[in-house]
Symmetry: C2
Subunit: 408 residues, 2 copies
């Protein structure tokens, strides 16, 4: 082989406004270039402890078991399901999008008897349906996505949390999209397990899945007749590695631990409420601009999540050609949709580092130009003023920076 075939790594400049990965915080990228240290070096175990402490702050929990799984967010979700579910256990999945399907698939693989409570894409799962299912028959686990990137819907959780306590079920929540972008109050909402990811609103690359679980979940894991099939994703083993016992397990991905620490540190410096408001403000500006272009949003307006905006593709437009043109000419990535929405909507993400008005203006400008080139008569000149007006009007609701100001 000729090694010269493989050139110096030089990824093109992209504005990542899809469903994640989003552009990472420059500080996070820089942290990953730090020199490695040993996995049981006291300097590294201190960093691990700091990652746990920062995770608790960002997940709004006092759970001791707060640490990352060394894999993508999917690895975190599987760790939660695998560590709780034994073959034959009943698992109720609140399913309103692609990541509800993923919960069903993983639980099914681990031998669960799965009941999927399906909502039409674009709507929430009505909490009463989950409550009714638990009343009909006990379940060990209720699994639900907090905000599904496939539909842009934000699922209310507090009522489901209460019902799970009442019916002695464990509530497992996928907060991969939501953490860092909207409120995720693990303890207040009585989430027993809450799993996130680094590559969306936390502003890092994919590859670490911070999660937390409480004593109820931990007790259920300890009460198993046999350990889960998986060793790599066995939460009780990972807890003993991340906790004071420091039992040897896998070799932690040093650079990704650095990345996660820096990302969480940035969230805490900004402050959770200020960060949520920044996401809301950026998406309001985007939606004002899209409306000015004459485009329609998809989904139930009462339950839209700010971090991803689903836009109906105008009639007669080649949706894939628009995305390709946006990428090739403007360097902007937006996303196609899955399943029933494929070909019908675009998904535009404003997550973490990218939830900024300059990015809103860039995508509105690019999308307007590309639609015009496709022959759609959109009023391109109207988008930026509408977005800026929305953005400026919201400026006075911004909370102070720092996590201390607003949360316990």
């Amino acid at each position: 082989m000729d090694a010269r075939r493989f050139e110096e790594l030089d990824p093109p400049a992209r504005l990542l406004l899809g469903s994640g990965p989003s552009n990472a915080e420059p500080r996070v990228l820089r942290a990953m270039a730090s020199p490695l240290i040993g996995q049981f070096d006291p300097a590294f175990t201190r960093i691990m402890d700091e990652v746990s402490a920062l995770s608790r702050l960002v997940l709004r929990t006092d759970n001791l078991a707060s640490f990352p799984v060394s894999g993508s967010s999917r690895a975190g979700l599987e760790a939660a399901v695998a560590s709780l579910v034994q073959p034959g256990d009943r698992v109720v999945v609140g399913n309103y999008g692609r990541f509800g399907d993923l919960f069903c698939e993983i639980a099914g693989r681990y031998g669960a008897e799965v009941e999927s409570i399906d909502a039409e894409w674009g709507r929430i799962v009505e909490p009463e349906q989950v409550v009714a299912s638990l009343r009909r028959r006990a379940a060990k686990v209720v699994a639900i996505v907090h905000a599904d990137t496939s539909t842009g819907v934000l699922q209310p959780l507090a009522e489901i949390g209460r019902a799970c306590r009442e019916h002695d079920a464990l509530l497992v929540v996928d907060a991969v999209l939501s953490l860092g972008g909207v409120e995720v109050s693990t303890d207040e909402w009585q989430l027993d397990v809450c799993v996130a990811g680094l590559q969306k609103c936390l502003g890092g690359p994919s590859g670490m899945a911070p999660l937390t679980y409480n004593q109820r979940a931990s007790a259920a894991m300890r009460a198993r007749a046999a350990p889960p099939r998986t060793n790599y994703l066995d939460l009780l083993q990972l807890e003993q590695y991340w906790g004071p016992d420091r039992l040897n397990h896998h070799t932690a991905p040093t650079s990704m631990v650095y990345a996660l620490r820096e990302a969480l540190r940035i969230v805490c410096e900004e402050g959770l409420e200020r960060r949520w408001e920044r996401h809301r403000r950026a998406s309001d500006a985007l939606r004002a601009g899209l409306a000015a272009l004459g485009l329609q949003l998809f989904g139930d307006p009462r339950h839209r999540v700010p971090m991803i905006t689903l836009v109906n593709v105008p009639w007669g437009v080649d949706e894939a050609a628009v995305r390709a043109k946006l990428l090739d000419d403007f360097g902007i990535e937006i996303m196609a949709a899955f399943g029933p929405l494929n070909g019908r909507v675009w998904r535009i993400g404003l997550m973490g580092y990218n939830a900024r008005v300059d990015n809103v203006l860039a995508v509105l400008s690019g999308l307007g130009q590309v639609l015009r080139a496709q022959g759609v008569q959109v009023p391109t000149e109207a988008a930026a003023p509408a977005a800026l007006e929305s953005y400026r009007g919201a400026g006075d609701r911004m909370p102070e920076p720092g996590i201390e100001a607003r949360t316990a």
Copy 2:
């Protein structure tokens, strides 16, 4: 919380001469700081294809299925076992150290009937023992570690490879320590699955597990009655994500993919045979220096692997105190041993970027000083000349750089 409690990340300078992670190549660290791009961006799928092509070269295989698992090397090993083993399958493990135990544990969790062929720590598993087991009773899988960091032993594989073909068993090999440091000839030795890791002789951080498998292994995965429990580590799904189908699975850890690509590119630039010789030369120099200090090596001298050297702790010496002093005063990490060797040996790794004579001289100097401070009368002045003499004498065996020169 007060975000100021969490200072700027600033890991201490360490020379990592333990069992991995080793210090990463500076070029690999820098690659990780590159901007992110989307997971289905044509620029990124091209990078994925390059990673596969580079993996084939380094693993010396033509297998199409050559890609990394997004996790530590343990994740790669579990992916191999989980994807092949169905409950009740017979798995024979050649077990001569801690990572043989890990194979037994993982296979057991996935429901295998495990036969562990145990060798004393410090010795190889005699290939005839594996052959005899296959003759007694068919097995679906034979799993064995190529070089176990816990014992520093290099296990011969070609004879076991032939026996597995003859008896229709699949040979799964853990090449986590060996790949990049000694010959690993997947196709020539008839390894059906070969799994590596990034954090040892490939010169990167932990977090990616490059692996390869052939048509025999792939056919066995496809012939399963049901998919494996694990979704995250299901190799057939990962193959469809890394292959031309590009079926959506987890979000690839972009920065770690960059790191793996750069690490493999460096290996190919150096050339495999030159790299193996560099590892041999560095470890010969270390061993000459240790002998000059009057220290004894552990294990069967016929089967020592170059990349990690096990040294007997001199009588009366506090082994943990020596390591702590080396770390605190000299910034050098060496490793304690596991299981039966704990407290009796140190493990000194010279892996990937670290397999250099300057590091040999640094650890010999540090170890000599610390032992003297502990009251052991070692001839500290003798170590460096002995190491340098060995090192210089070996200089004329170095092959030319570049992978093309020596291998197909």
